[in-house]
């Protein structure tokens, strides 16, 4: 069979993720120390795991409602109110997805017709562009700048808005840069959007990992709730990546269409995970804070260490990544990562995996123990001495 002619052209044209390429090499090597992963090193707090186990023992193994357990949707709404001052109706405004990723996909599919444009600030997580491409939409990257700590500015946004603009993806706190948008920055963006028919897909999966202040959702800004779909989930805040559980909250007509796709494509998110998530939302605030405190200490340590290495690193205020600038080495991001991997066996991700504006930067995760981080820093120091 000639699969190239069989396979969808659109799918074949989508580029594979730039994160994977390096890791496939790294996985084959012995003694690699990684600062590469994008998931918490904490295990899911045991009370949450125990709740999953308990429901399995009781045989609660059925499908749930398409939109998710009502109990869970109610808790999600309480959580959004309690933590971010957002008010949503459990029945109509919220539904449960297979990770934040599914919610992102569904939101784009529910909003974007072929040929319509989706604005994507970059550097950002690898999924937005391919997902837009697969529905025939046109991804329009907005290159954010290091001097603005990779925030999206009003000017950058205005430059890219056209008649065809349908959605603005707002990925803050940001993976890979660790950049955040504070209230005043969101106000600027809201000013542009309030007078236009552009929806915001606000990917707030790292909301709980915001340092030096609390996360602000754009949906809480005047006039923005009606034009925003908030995507969030349990993976990062509660260290529940493998449970695959997220959710979307937004205007009822949008959520209704998203649930329709979800119903046909997925049925419902894993029921065991949903029960566990109810426990997470009811009793997990303390666990969140404990983990966030831990990340915060590592964050300060690693930023300091990288600056001491002579790789300028701005202080990221969200997520669990730093985004050091490696331009002083004269290497491209890819070269830097490749050489570092082969000479000192340290795995980090080239900034270019997250968009062209990531050139000259690398993504370094601090979702590791302090000793692990210090060992990796030592190896990078040795690597830099050989350049």
């Amino acid at each position: 069979m000639d699969y190239q002619t069989i396979l969808s052209k659109r799918v074949q044209q989508v580029k594979p993720s730039g994160i994977r390429k390096f890791f496939d090499i790294a996985n084959e090597m012995e003694g690699v120390i990684s600062l590469g992963v994008g998931e918490p090193d904490f295990k899911t707090p045991f009370a949450i795991r125990a709740e999953g186990i308990r429901t399995l023992e009781r045989g609660k193994t059925w499908y749930s409602a398409n939109a998710g357990l009502m109990e869970l949707r109610t808790e999600i709404c309480r959580y959004l109110e309690r933590r971010f001052g957002l008010s949503y109706e459990p029945k109509s405004d919220v539904f449960v997805t297979v990770g934040g990723s599914e919610a992102i996909d569904l939101c784009l599919r529910a909003l974007v017709d072929p040929g319509e444009e989706v604005l994507i600030p970059e550097p950002s997580f690898v999924c937005y562009t391919p997902l837009v491409e697969m529905i025939g939409g046109v991804p329009v990257p907005i290159e954010t700048k290091a001097e603005n700590q990779f925030r999206l500015t009003k000017e950058e946004l205005l430059e890219k808005v056209t008649d065809k603009t349908k959605v603005l993806v707002l990925p803050y706190p940001n993976n890979p840069t660790g950049g955040v948008m504070r209230k005043e920055h969101l106000e600027e963006i809201a000013e542009v959007l309030r007078e236009r028919n552009i929806m915001v897909l606000s990917d707030e999966i790292y909301a709980e990992l915001t340092y030096n202040g609390k996360h602000v959702s754009i949906a809480s800004i005047e006039g923005m709730k009606e034009r925003t779909v908030v995507v969030n989930g349990f993976s990062k805040a509660y260290a529940m990546t493998g449970w695959r559980l997220g959710y979307a909250a937004g205007p009822a007509p949008v959520i209704k269409q998203m649930v329709k796709i979800h119903q046909f494509a997925i049925m419902c998110a894993p029921t065991t995970s949903q029960y566990a998530a109810v426990e997470a939302l009811r009793n997990g605030d303390e666990s969140i804070e404990k983990m966030a405190t831990e990340y915060n200490m590592r964050r300060r340590l690693i930023v300091n260490e990288f600056n001491r290495l002579g790789l300028p690193t701005f202080e990221p205020e969200g997520a669990f990544y730093i985004f050091p600038c490696i331009k002083s080495t004269g290497l491209t991001s890819e070269e830097f990562c490749e050489k570092l991997l082969f000479s000192q066996k340290v795995a980090v991700v080239p900034g270019t995996a997250f968009g062209n504006s990531g050139e000259g930067f690398i993504r370094v995760s601090y979702s590791y123990s302090v000793n692990h981080i210090l060992e990796a820093v030592e190896r990078i120091r040795k690597f830099l001495e050989t350049l």
């Binding site: 405190t293 340590l301 795995a347 302090v370 000793n371």
Partner: protein
């Protein structure tokens, strides 16, 4: 709990400079806090967590329950201090419940420890009875899981 103490409990080899960065304070402040905790007897030592069995095959530890008659005026202090004076004794605790003192004794073999208990501890005037339990396997020490090299299963 105090974050500085928590960090030191986990890894007392972090430098003051590293601790200061992690806590968002200055090196001087960390040094001052540590001196104060030391002076107040809150930080009483810095130690390594060792898997003794791996280091030294000839290492035995036993947990001894001592029932003692408390002495007028001195209570348990005198006997506890006396027991604690032996080099073989690693830890001594006053307990509630069925016995009074928990004593952890180390030695090179079972017999050594049994003899130590028979000769040194049970002969003390106020000791009423002893019960010796040998430690067979350690699973967790100072919060560290032993012999438990957990692989990072996250895809790199």
């Amino acid at each position: 709990m105090n974050q500085l103490i928590r960090l030191l409990e986990e890894n007392s080899r972090l430098t003051n400079a590293q601790l200061a960065v992690m806590l968002g304070t200055t090196e001087e402040d960390v040094a001052q806090q540590i001196s104060r905790y030391e002076a107040e007897g809150i930080l009483i030592g810095y130690t390594a967590v060792v898997d003794q069995e791996r280091l030294d095959k000839e290492y035995v530890e036993a947990y001894i329950e001592l029932r003692v008659t408390p002495q007028r005026d001195h209570g348990f202090e005198e006997i506890a201090t006396r027991v604690a004076a032996y080099d073989e004794v690693k830890d001594v605790y006053l307990m509630s419940g069925g016995y009074d003192l928990a004593v952890i004794v180390t030695g090179t073999n079972f017999k050594d420890i049994a003899m130590f208990v028979a000769k040194r501890l049970s002969t003390l005037d106020s000791v009423v009875s002893t019960a010796t339990h040998f430690l067979l396997k350690r699973y967790k020490e100072h919060g560290v899981l032993i012999d438990h090299t957990e692989l990072d299963e996250r895809s790199v």
